[in-house]
């Protein structure tokens, strides 16, 4: 896949951590691309580096070497402030434990990313309400996270991820804390975001059933990436 057509392009990306006097390698010379509108699942055992790879793609961690191009921007060259602005405009986050603000209701949680835009209060509200309607929570807008089930909280998190219309949605074990039924609903929603809205999604998961919903699966083993496993999309 050419760099121009890719939403995400990694070139010779390596990552290591310094622990005491020792260098601990996590990712070694990763090269791969994710096409625009793709839905990729990253799988691998614990400690394989899949979350680190996701963090690098999302711009919340920096590579030790190599280039990461997301929508043609080399994010490894951005400083902290530029990177924060870039994340706000380009990345939607979905976390395993939802990471909602407990003191904000569903609408306010979804409104959060819009605080960093030039939108006025009324526009922010209407955008947030629209996003909540899309994830099927129109009747739960005033509810606080502790008044919602796990599945509903993850829906709020998905609404928060899509409300600013990002280029890329990264999901770290989005179904890891949910029962089977709720997990299925969340995966349906991710498929819908990908299929209907054309969002590029990168999802880290342990769950083979969840990975089956993606267009492609990549396995990570000891910091090295396996060949692309393309799946037939219905």
């Amino acid at each position: 896949m050419s760099g121009e057509a890719a939403a995400v392009l990694l070139r010779h990306v390596s990552k290591h951590y310094q622990r005491g006097g020792q260098i601990v390698p996590v990712l070694s010379d990763i090269d791969f691309a994710i096409a625009r509108g793709d839905f990729l699942a990253l799988m691998g055992p614990s400690g394989s580096g899949k979350s680190t790879l996701l963090n690098l793609i999302a711009g919340i961690d920096r590579p030790s070497s190599g280039q990461i191009l997301v929508a043609d921007v080399d994010i490894a060259t951005l400083d902290e402030r530029e990177l924060a602005d870039w994340r706000a405009r380009n990345v939607g986050f979905i976390f395993q434990f939802y990471n909602l603000m407990p003191v904000l209701d569903a609408r306010e949680n979804v409104e959060l990313p819009l605080m960093l835009t030039s939108l006025g209060r009324r526009e922010r509200r209407s955008h947030a309400e629209l996003a909540l309607e899309m994830v099927g929570l129109a009747d739960r807008m005033d509810h606080y996270p502790n008044e919602l089930s796990g599945g509903q909280q993850q829906r709020v998190a998905i609404a928060r991820a899509l409300v600013s219309d990002p280029t890329l949605i990264v999901a770290d074990e989005p179904t890891g804390d949910l029962d089977r039924k709720s997990a299925g609903e969340i995966l349906d929603l991710l498929e819908q975001l990908n299929g209907e809205l054309g969002k590029t999604i990168v999802m880290v998961t342990h769950d083979a059933r969840a990975a089956e919903r993606a267009h492609a699966i990549r396995h990570l083993e000891k910091g090295e990436l396996s060949a692309l496993e393309q799946r037939e999309v219905a």
């Binding site: 680190t52 961690d61 994340r87 405009r89 990471n99 990313p113 960093l116």
Partner: protein, 387 residues
């Protein structure tokens, strides 16, 4: 965005109800205690603060214990820059029992009241007091404390001047402003002197201090020098100083107590600072994942720091508001019970500013370290805190 963040900070501040309540209770008590202790210190200096720059006090240069001959009065009056003189003598008597302490002075009524315009007396009561040699004039607070009314007989048992002294209350003065001492008891120096002439003639015709009215407050040093020069090398040399300096010399006698009170008030603030810092550190630590999430969403470290600072400011602001609001009724209650010790016991505006300053200092100090840590935390490390 600022309003949104402030609302979020307020919600965060009240998130753990019990912790917030206990912290607020601690802050309220600390700010109230700080205000009360500051008021006690102010009360100590009330006499000096209420002093006029147009009055000097002349006393015996050796010690206040030694009197000055009354004949000095006319010679002081002759000094350049002096507009009037009066005199006063400490009496130190007991009303019914020793616990009923209040200051009593034998004065020359007409000239004394002329030099102290802050003692506001009705014209007829003033005339009656001046006319009656056995008459006395008391402050409103003192009269209220013992339920005295004009015309009442008041017996005072002398300690320095033995015997029972009977007075007739001829007037009650009010203070021109809140800093005026309304706890004093004045009577005729002539009445005292007549009795002394009979019982101890060698102690007669003396007074404790002269009050010297001057034309220009800025010339106090020169006039003092001129007065003292008149009596240099005499048997009773004088020491003349401003009324403020005279009052401060009494405060100096108890300076260590004042210093101890001030130190305690600062310790109270230090303790609440530690409590508040602990609260903020706990709160910030618990919310590490939330701050990391905000940073991941694109909020800068400044916003995270602002959230913590705003939370600390809100908590301290609420605590300070409650503490300050409670200061007035508490000072009124304590002032009522201690008005024989602190005749002027009011909440000064400087005290309120000090309370606000202390609350601000506590808020800033408590938020500094947690805010810095939250601002510095790496997103990946912070997100891990959730699991």
């Amino acid at each position: 965005m600022l309003v949104f963040l402030l609302r979020m900070s307020l919600k965060n501040a009240l998130r753990h109800r019990l912790r917030a309540f206990l912290t607020l209770a601690g802050l309220t008590v600390a700010i109230l205690s700080f205000g009360l202790l500051s008021t006690v210190v102010s009360a100590w200096y009330a006499g000096a603060d209420a002093a006029s720059d147009k009055r000097l006090i002349t006393r015996n240069a050796i010690s206040l214990v030694f009197p000055l001959p009354i004949s000095y009065g006319e010679r002081i009056r002759g000094a350049e820059g002096v507009t009037g003189i009066s005199w006063a003598n400490w009496f130190g008597g007991i009303y019914i029992e020793p616990k009923n302490f209040f200051p009593q002075f034998a004065i020359e009524p007409a000239s004394y009241l002329q030099l102290y315009p802050e003692f506001v007396v009705k014209e007829d009561e003033r005339a009656a007091f001046v006319r009656d040699r056995q008459g006395c004039l008391v402050g409103r607070k003192l009269a209220n404390r013992y339920g005295w009314k004009v015309g009442d007989n008041i017996p005072i048992k002398g300690t320095i001047f033995p015997g029972t002294w009977n007075f007739v209350l001829r007037g009650i003065y009010d203070g021109r402003d809140s800093s005026t001492d309304q706890n004093q008891f004045f009577f005729h120096w002539d009445y005292l002197n007549e009795r002394i002439k009979q019982t101890a003639p060698r102690r007669a015709n003396n007074t404790g201090v002269f009050i010297v009215g001057i034309r220009d407050g800025s010339a106090a040093a020169q006039v003092s020098e001129r007065v003292d020069k008149v009596f240099r090398n005499s048997l009773a040399e004088t020491l003349t100083e401003t009324e403020k300096a005279f009052q401060l010399s009494f405060v100096a006698m108890t300076e260590t107590i004042v210093l101890a009170i001030q130190i305690v008030s600062y310790v109270v603030i230090l303790i609440i600072m530690a409590v508040m810092a602990n609260t903020m550190a706990m709160s910030a630590r618990e919310r590490t994942a939330e701050y990391a999430t905000l940073k991941a969403l694109g909020f800068g470290p400044g916003v995270v720091g602002l959230l913590i600072l705003a939370e600390s400011l809100l908590l301290c602001g609420i605590g300070a508001a409650l503490g300050i609001a409670l200061t007035w009724p508490t000072v009124r209650a304590i002032g009522g019970a201690l008005d024989n010790i602190f005749p002027v016991f009011n909440v000064a505006s400087t005290t309120v500013w000090q309370q606000l300053g202390a609350a601000l200092l506590v808020a800033l100090a408590a938020a500094a370290v947690p805010a810095q840590q939250a601002m510095r935390i790496r997103i990946t490390e912070g997100l891990r805190a959730v699991s």
